[in-house]
Structures are given as structure tokens and as C-alpha cells.
Amino acid sequence: MKKLVSTLLCVLLVAGLLTGCTGAPAAADVKTEAADSSASAGSAENSTENAVEPAAPDDAAMQEKLNTTLYIGCSFETFDNPYLVTFDKGCQLFCKYLDSIGQKYEYTCMLNEGNSEKQINDINALLAKSGGNAIFFIDPNEAAIVSVLAEAVNDAGAFMCTTWTKPEDLDVWDYDGWVAHHSPDDVTMGYKSAIQMFESLPTPGQGKIVALQGNLGHTTANNRYLGLEKALKEYPGIELVAVESAKWMAPEALSIMETWLAKYDDIDGVWCANDNMAMGAIQALQAKGLAGKVKVCGINAIPTAIDYIEDGTMAATVDCNGWGQGGYSLAMCYLAWTGQTDVPSLPHDQRLFATESIFVNSSNVAEYKATYVDNEPTLDFEHPYEAFVYGPYVS
């Protein structure tokens, strides 16, 4: 019995080593060659007119800051999503920038796996350790905890930027430590990805489509679907024959798509609220020999989706610019911490704003791949407001 136990534990260990050691490239393995700056996230032409220009720091004060250890926290739900992983990558890119200017820092990526209490505790622990010398990029689990986080960070004299989730009635400018809240525009993402798919159909703007939604009741899922509805109004030739929630998951999408294919034999397109579900739908289409013939679109720009756009299986996807969300958020907080920006005096449209999404289709997939998949993007951390603020915030 003991031999059996030890043998099988060894199997677990070996499998862990084999997969873990040779799995996804670690952050340190990512190539760091400079990419074409023209395709970098949030080009200057998209920034608003009154972008913040950081004040030149006083040399002695700046030197003191450089020698002070800055605690950096990146807090989000999970690594169980390729898009969320780019938050961490963007933050690490900012850390490389700090290396280049000689700033002392400690970086911590804090995953909470959907546990809001853990998210609050992790942030409080880092605040306690930092003595106020801390900056955070936070994707809050739920709107209800944002005020708790803002108060904790504010009271400690630290700074934070948040993304995606914020209560409607909570204002960023009520807290000096809450530098900014931003979010990509989900309605536009759902709308534009739908239009790109409609235009890619055999008869552009004509045909039958099905839609795979995220979790019903989820703000992001609802807004993306609103975008689809908006596009459908503009394209009367497109008929939406079925809608179902695949709960953001590929296996669920595979199962639903298989069943739909038993019912509909004349589908022209599949609109998916994220790329994960698009992957499941494509597997079902492949099994029936329809991959490439039936056009699929998604959102998130995961690497496999980019490959599928290249080979014509997918029509379009959207990159929410997770690198920028992580990296630029920290850059804005850093400017506040070093005193280069005075947070209370920042205009409201620089503290609550929409960020740019990158739409990928067959026309720009090669450029996108070279910039974001094969290489790290180039982010302008010295001018984050100019590079990252895209337009008015859409709740």
C-alpha cells in the first residue's frame, strides 16, 4: 500500500514538473524586443485634448523617492483567463521601466480567485507593510468593495487605479488616493465585433447568426450584448435566430453550438461575447466541416483567436488592452506618488475615462500579432495620460 502511495505521488510530482516547468512562458521568458510604436496601445491621436502633462520633479525629492522602496500591488481575480494574465504582464512591463530609471520597488501580483474578502485583506497587508509607499492596480471583484478599498488606500496615503467595476454613485474625486477609474467600452466592443462579422459574411450584411452570451446579469455581458443589438438594428439583413448564455466557457459553448447545429443548417455567423466561447463554437463547427464557412467573432484577442483570424476561421476579435490597463494604471499612480501630478487638481475626465480597445480582423492581424503576441508592446510610461485616456467613461 505504501509503495503504491509513493509511486502515484511520484507520478503527480513528475507530471507537475513536466507540465509546470515547460508550460506557458514565464514573464521572464517573454521577448523584450522593441515593437513598432505605431501599433502600441492607445496612440497619442486618441488621447483627449486636456491630457495631463506631469510636472518636472525636483531632483533631490525625486532622488529620495528613487531610494525609497515602493510597494506595487496588482490585484485581480485569477490567471484562469488569458486576458487577465496581461494585467500582470503590463504591470511587469512597468516594473522594467522602474528598473530603467533606478527606482527601488517590490512587486506583488495578488490573485483572489473571486474571494472579495481576500482581495481586501491582501491590499491591506501590503498597505501595512509599505507605510503608505504603495501603488495599486486593482480590478475589483465586485462594486460593493470599491469604497472599502478606496478608503483603505486613501487613509494609508497610497495611490490606486481601478478598472471595470465601480459603483455608479461612488465618485473617484472624493478620494485623493484614488487616482483614476477606467474601463473599455463594452457596448462598442460588442457592436464593432458584430459589424466586422456581418461584413465578412459571404453576402456582406445578409445572413442568419446565433449569439453566445456571457453570464446573464453580468454588466459586461449585458453591455456587449447591447452592442450586438445596436449592430442588428443597423443591419436589417441579419437575422438573429438563437441566443444562449454559455457562461463565458468554451465547453458550454461547444455543447450549445453542437445542439444548435442539429436545429439550424443555414447559420452564417456566430457572435460570441468572448474568445473562450468562440473556441468552443469553432470546435463544434469543425466537427461538422463548417469552420471557416460560418464566420465567428469574439472578444479578448487570446493567442488562439489571433491564429484563427489569420487562417480565416474567425472574422474578428477585440483586445481590451490588458497590458495598458495594468501598466498605465501603475504609471499614473507613480506620477502621483512622486508628486509629479497633484491628484485633487486633475480634471475629472482624466480620473474617470474610457480606454481604447484594439479591433483585430484579417486586415490588421499581422501587425497586431507582431506587436502584442510575438513581442511585448511599447508603452509610454512617462506620458500615461496622453497614451491611455481615450474618451468619456461609459458605465
Partner: protein, 338 residues
């Protein structure tokens, strides 16, 4: 009426009670088959053009295969009155493991069939670990498997680093696409697992020990049965099934991801219970599970063809489970209900 009852002798009363019990048992035994037949009939009438087609039959086979494998593993666990909550985690972990070990888009590995065997062994090892901790430290299976399930999910995500590996091994990807005698190969695989489980359950002393442990653990213990060993073996069997399910799930999706396991616990255990296997152990078996899996799959498939919302489908599954538990639970064996 009262006079007639009063006039019944004790023997007649006992006989009537036995007959009532027998009728109830017969109804419970056949209820799942009747439900399945009713569902097929209803959907065939309401959605004749799409439900009753060869393509949809294949779809149902495809959709039931992985659930059947998991549920067959779960049946033995339920038969001894335990539960295995590692289902979602270990299926997801096996899926990530196989995808990262065979030819894939994330790394240079290409272990082929050995990658498959290692991934299945991971499931087996988790089963062994579960069983060992459960019997050695006398911790309830609920708590042990709850904790190890979380460990498995964490390992799966850690291995992949959030970048799910796209499988590129053409020979292995051909498995979910292939069929034999018009039935998908993965369904044949699930039938083989079912067949093995049936033989173990019906034709071996191990199967009899399993039922005995589920009925009353102390009786086989005093007769010299190695109860702890049987329990460990049962969790290993469950782990083996989960490993295999994870591998097939990854191949079907052409990528390894933790979501392959998400929701599988609910579906598989629903199938076991709906099939008539009693949650308190000792009653039921893998053939019941086959019927349960068919009911759950046909219900999902048929309701989707009728455009019924996913949350209503989940709600209906929940109601069916509740009814099945109410029918199969033997209240006479319960000292208290809480």
C-alpha cells in the same frame, strides 16, 4: 373501510405492507426508464425535425460520453455513501496536463500517448491521495475532496499560467472526430468504462464489498473485509475516471483548460442520483447511472432545441434531482433527518 381494516389479521396486514413496499420499490426502479422514455417521446413530438435526427443522436452521444465516464466513477463513491468533490478540479487538471504534455501551442513537449497516460495517472494519484487521507486520518470524504479539488484547480491554472494550451497532435485530435458503427469513438470509450464498472460491481467480491460497506460499514468490517482498502480503491477508480474524462474533454475541445471540469460535478452527480442510486449508499449501480446520464443529456439537449433558457434548464435539473432523492432515500434507515 375502518371495519374492514380492523378485521384484517396481523399476517394480512404484514403481507399488504410488504406488497406496498414492493410496488414502491418497483416504481423507483423503473421510474428513471419511464422518465427517459417520456422525455424522448415529448421532444420527438415537439421537435421532430431537429431532435429525432441522426446528427442529433450523435450530438447526444458526444455530449453524454464525458459525463458518463465521470458518473460511472462517482457511482462507486456514492454506493459507499461518500462523495467526491474533486470532480471539477481533477478533470480540469487532467485536461491542462494532457494539453501541455502532448504536441501543443504553449511549449515543445510531444509525449504523445505517454502524455495521455501521465494525465490519467494524475487523476489516479489524486484519487489515491483522497482515499488515503480519508481512511488514514478519518476525515470525511466531503472535506478531503473539497480541499483537494481546490488544490487540483490551482495546479491546473499554475501549469498553464492562464494561457490555455491549444492541442496540435493530429493523431490524438482524430479521436473525438472518429466514429465506429456510426457511434463516436469517445462514446465507445465511455461504454467500455461502463462495462468494466458493471463487471466489477456485479461479478467480483469487490463489488459485493462495496454494496455491503454502503449498507452498513460495520458488518463487512467484522467479517474480515478490508473496508479501508476498498474505500481507497474506490476513490482511485473515481480518480482514474476523472483523469480519463479530463483527457477526452481536452481532446474534444482541442485545448486544455480548467473550465473543462467546471460544472461536471453537478451534472455527473445529478445523473447518478436521477438514475436511482441512493445518496445514502448501498443501493443502485452503474446501469442506473447510464439511464441517469441519458436523462440529463436528453433533457438539456431537448430543452435547448426548444429554446429554453440555460438557467431554466439548470433549475429543472435541480428539481429533478430533488424528486429523485425524495424517491430513493430510505427514511427507515435514518435515525434523524436534519
Amino acid at each position: 373501510m375502518r371495519n374492514r381494516t380492523a378485521a384484517m389479521s396481523i399476517a394480512e396486514e404484514f403481507s399488504a405492507k410488504v406488497q406496498r413496499e414492493q410496488r414502491r420499490d418497483k416504481l423507483i426502479r423503473w421510474a428513471p426508464v419511464i422518465v427517459l422514455f417520456a422525455l424522448v417521446t415529448i421532444f420527438s413530438i415537439l421537435r421532430f425535425d431537429s431532435f429525432f435526427t441522426l446528427y442529433n443522436l450523435n450530438t447526444i452521444f458526444n455530449q453524454m460520453s464525458i459525463t458518463l465516464i465521470i458518473a460511472v466513477g462517482a457511482t462507486f463513491v456514492v454506493l459507499i455513501g461518500s462523495v467526491d468533490l474533486t470532480v471539477d478540479g481533477v478533470v480540469g487538471l487532467a485536461s491542462c496536463t494532457v494539453a501541455l504534455l502532448i504536441l501543443n501551442g504553449n511549449n515543445e513537449n510531444n509525449f504523445g500517448i505517454f502524455g495521455v497516460l501521465i494525465a490519467i495517472s494524475v487523476g489516479l494519484a489524486f484519487g489515491l491521495l483522497t482515499g488515503f487521507i480519508h481512511v488514514r486520518f478519518r476525515i470525511s470524504s466531503f472535506m478531503v475532496t473539497y480541499a483537494l479539488g481546490a488544490v487540483a484547480v490551482g495546479c491546473g491554472i499554475l501549469f498553464s499560467g492562464g494561457l490555455w494550451a491549444q492541442i496540435k497532435d493530429a493523431s490524438l485530435l482524430a479521436i473525438p472526430a472518429a466514429s465506429f458503427l456510426g457511434i463516436p469513438v469517445i462514446t465507445w470509450i465511455s461504454f467500455v468504462v461502463l462495462g468494466i464498472a458493471w463487471v466489477i460491481q456485479e461479478k467480483t467480491p469487490f463489488g459485493r464489498h462495496m454494496i455491503a460497506i454502503g449498507t452498513n460499514e460495520e458488518v463487512p468490517r467484522v467479517t474480515g473485509v478490508k473496508v479501508d482498502l476498498v474505500k481507497v480503491m474506490i476513490f482511485m477508480w473515481s480518480g482514474l475516471c476523472l483523469g480519463l474524462a479530463g483527457v477526452l474533454g481536452a481532446l474534444r475541445l482541442a485545448r486544455g483548460e480548467a473550465d473543462v471540469g467546471t460544472g461536471q460535478f453537478f451534472t455527473a452527480y445529478a445523473a447518478v442520483i436521477v438514475g436511482g442510486t441512493s445518496l445514502s449508499g448501498g443501493r443502485g449501480g452503474v446501469i442506473n447511472t447510464l439511464i441517469g446520464v441519458l436523462i440529463i443529456t436528453v433533457l438539456n439537449n431537448g430543452l435547448l432545441l426548444m429554446d429554453v433558457n440555460i438557467f431554466i434548464r439548470s433549475g429543472m435539473q435541480g428539481l429533478i434531482i430533488l424528486v429523485a432523492i425524495a424517491l430513493t432515500i430510505d427514511r427507515n434507515r435514518r435515525a434523524i433527518c436534519k
